[in-house]
């Protein structure tokens, strides 16, 4: 069952067209990666799907319902979350707070509930437990009450990912989760991803440049270049695809 | 018909002054991201200094205007060196700039009041002579102002287009980091922006004083929002736009008194027209008339 359907979407701004006529579907519970040279439109695609930007044409459906007209936060509350290139963390909040903010259904979000402190504090305690548990899984419990600004780049990625996972999503868009992360942390990340897949049947859609990792973990690879999809299929078949190689290396002649 | 001509004329006069003041404000914003709340007071200052030299000291009027422009430039120059440079170095945020600009305004106003007193002043020009044009009253002073203001506007536009420093300013406004690495002297650009703003502010102040016939220390302050309206209308960050925006706003404010607009906006509500225009533009077309968004909107 396709959890995400992207139908012929395009967008343009400032004179460039980062995404042109892209269509694909993602099956629930699958693990798909999107690769392509810089500027191919991958992050723009994520921005469109997650609602950060609006599409000019086409449709996007999530769990069978159109989402391209919704605001980003509405899309997120339906179970489609994302991480950010460069791992955005809120530096003025502590690591734990960053995570606690992600727990859905927080009565504290609604101002009326200001007057029911008990339900709020119960939720807060629960949120904190969940946060600590999550931190434990990535080995960062000792940072729980430090300001998130002190984390290193790789740790921020872990935080970014953990935060997305805290929302109990149905599908996550991961934007270059392994970029600039040292190999041990990459292992950790992969572990977390694997566990989440198994336990919660989350669908993953990944943007990545590290081809090796991508080929190892993905079930399916989509290749983008210049705003369009130029290849889509099993990892191995992508390797053999001429167009893909061209896109990555420019139009260099292959072979001898 | 008479009304139409009258309002058109008044609108052009007012608009040309708005245009001059708006350019200064627009430049400051596009180059420095600074919303100059003190702009109005610079106008007042310009008018009063000119008054002082031309009336009290009986120095030639044109010369007085030049002196006041220089004074405006001097103050801006001083503030840039002492205050603004410091803030920029410390990476002051939007709020800091706002409040400091307000602080400057708050300091400037009392100083003007203290030095020059609070009575209403008049320049030593004949404000009563008027021409008759199809029934519309065209005061000579306002006509003269219009002519000179238009000349100034053209000079400004020319300067922005042709002068080296003008082009540098626009380049920097467009993309500061790129400009900096391509060898543009940032400090000079910034200083030039301030000097121009200071000069234009004084000039606009003198013109406004002439047009109003008489003026007091609240003059600049009451006009401040109208200036902002002109800047926004003409697209924030676009100096040419500020010129056009100013003219249009002036026309709009005056013409709104025509009957076709809900029976005519009463004249004491004219500023509200400007404020409303400001809000409406921000809401529906924040890119202003010229359609692009500079920096963040």
């Amino acid at each position: 069952m396709a959890i995400l359907e992207v139908r012929d979407i395009s967008v343009s701004f400032g004179g460039i067209k980062p995404v042109r006529g892209v269509s694909f579907s993602v099956e629930a519970g699958s693990f798909t990666s999107i690769i392509g040279p810089n500027g191919a439109g991958k992050t723009s695609l994520f921005n469109l799907i997650s609602g950060v930007n609006k599409i000019d044409a086409g449709e996007i459906l999530f769990k069978g319902q159109t989402i391209h007209k919704l605001h980003a936060h509405e899309i997120a509350s339906r179970g489609l979350v994302r991480t950010f290139q460069g791992a955005k963390v809120i530096k003025r909040l502590t690591v734990a707070e960053n995570l606690m903010m992600a727990v859905q259904g927080n009565p504290g979000d609604s101002l009326w509930r200001f007057f029911t402190p008990r339900s709020r504090s119960k939720f807060e305690k629960h949120a904190r437990e969940l946060a600590m548990e999550r931190l434990d899984r990535v080995g960062m419990t000792k940072y729980a009450d430090e300001f998130a600004g002190i984390l290193s780049g790789g740790q921020r990625k872990l935080l970014d990912l953990s935060r997305a996972l805290m929302t109990n999503p149905s599908m996550i868009l991961l934007d270059e989760p392994f970029a600039g992360v040292n190999p041990t942390l990459v292992e950790k990340l992969l572990e977390v991803l694997a566990t989440m897949r198994k336990q919660h049947e989350i669908t993953f859609l990944l943007i990545e440049h590290d081809l090796e990792t991508v080929m190892n973990i993905s079930e399916r690879v989509i290749v983008m270049a210049e705003g369009k999809i130029i290849a889509d299929g099993l990892p191995n078949s992508i390797y053999e695809n001429e167009q893909v190689v061209d896109a990555y290396l420019g139009s260099r002649k292959r072979g001898a | 018909m008479t009304d139409l001509i009258q309002y058109l004329f008044n609108g052009l006069v007012a608009g040309s002054i708005f245009a001059i003041a708006a350019v200064g404000i627009s430049l400051l914003y596009s180059v420095l991201r600074l919303v100059n709340f003190a702009a109005g007071d610079f106008l007042t200052l310009g008018a009063f200094i000119t008054y002082f030299f031309s009336v009290t000291l009986e120095i030639n009027f044109i010369l007085s205007i030049i002196i006041s422009m220089l004074a405006g430039m001097a103050i801006c120059w001083f503030l840039e060196l002492v205050l603004w440079r410091n803030l920029r170095r410390n990476k002051a945020g939007t709020l800091a700039l706002f409040l400091v600009a307000t602080g400057v305004a708050l300091m400037l106003r009392p100083i003007i009041q203290y030095i020059f007193g609070t009575e209403t002043r008049r320049f030593n020009v004949d404000i009563l002579k008027t021409y008759d044009f199809f029934g519309a009253r065209i005061p000579q002073t306002q006509l003269v102002v219009l002519v000179f203001a238009t000349i100034s506007i053209l000079l400004i536009a020319l300067f922005m287009a042709k002068a080296r420093i003008g082009k540098d300013m626009r380049a920097y406004a467009n993309n500061p980091s790129l400009a900096a690495v391509s060898g543009i002297n940032v400090d000079r650009v910034v200083m030039a922006t301030w000097l121009i703003s200071g000069a234009l502010g004084s000039l606009a102040g003198v013109f406004q004083g002439l047009v109003q016939g008489q003026f007091n220390n609240a003059m600049g302050e009451t006009l401040l929002l109208s200036f902002f309206a002109a800047v926004v209308l003409g697209t924030i960050g676009d100096a040419y736009g500020a010129l056009v925006g100013g003219l249009l706003l002036g026309l709009f404010m005056e013409l709104s008194q025509l009957d076709i607009f809900f029976g005519g906006v009463p004249s004491n509500y004219k500023p509200v027209v400007a404020f409303a225009a400001l809000v409406l533009v921000l809401l529906f077309k924040p890119e202003g008339l010229f359609g692009y968004r500079s920096r963040k909107v």
Binding site: I90, G108, F114 | P110, F228, V272, A276, L278
Partner: protein, 311 residues
Amino acid sequence: MAGIYGVFSLGLQIQYGVAGVMNFGHVGMMAITGYAIAILVIRFQWSFWWAAFVGVALAALGGALLGLSTLRLSGDYFAIASIAFAEITRYWILNSDGITGGAQGTLAIPNPRGFGGYTDEPEVILTWIVDRLTPYLGDNASRDLAVLLVVWPFFFLFLWISARLQKTSWARVLRATREDDDVPRSLGKNVFRFRLQALVIGSVFGGIAGAFWAVQFMLLAPEDFLRIVTFYGWMILILAGATRVKGLAIAAIFFGFLYGATRFVEFWPISLLSAPERSYLRIFLIGVVLIALMVKRPQGLFGKRQEMVLE
């Protein structure tokens, strides 16, 4: 006086200190409530208490109106729009002679019973307080003192409410928003709604300040609500440390001192200046303080430097 401005600044604190919204038109909320009270009581013969309640509600409505129309804009532009809002309000008050008394102030509001103020009901309480205190304080038991004794407890109450508010997860989301909109959004938080709520709550406090103002001065005029008033509030806010509630009381007192000293202090060198000159001095000093604060110590007395610098 300090108390009133304190409450006023509290509203600003919630809007800026918590939510990062730069509202420079706060004085408009004060004006709305103050004038609403005056009009309702004088013209329509309402009871003061109901009028106050409605007045504050109207201020909240004003905040909502402002927010709904302009919060979409980014910081700089919203700030300008908020000033426009306050000025339009003031202009309307100034020019609607029939309803608001125009430039002459609330004395000129048409009153079916003839001449009259609107503070009859609160006066009863104030006089009661004065009477209770006179045995102990003699002449010092003035009406002003009575107002002070009424306003400050409320101020502290509001401070306490505010402090509690800032510890909630609601406030946490807003604090996150100050740094980055996209992250809370990606977690399902409707950033616009949160900001709007902060704006409205802040406006409520602004309105309450307006109600207190109306009681203190018994007479309102458009000049009471000039643009500059919002900046007094900002000065207090920055002095106190924008992100903390604690310092507001002290900052408010400092402001009150600044304001009052230039008016009432008689000794040298202030006595060199005449009354109007002193008001210039007051404005001048506020400008100086504002600049000095932002240059040297933007975190105020109690704030944390890093939080301000992150702006």
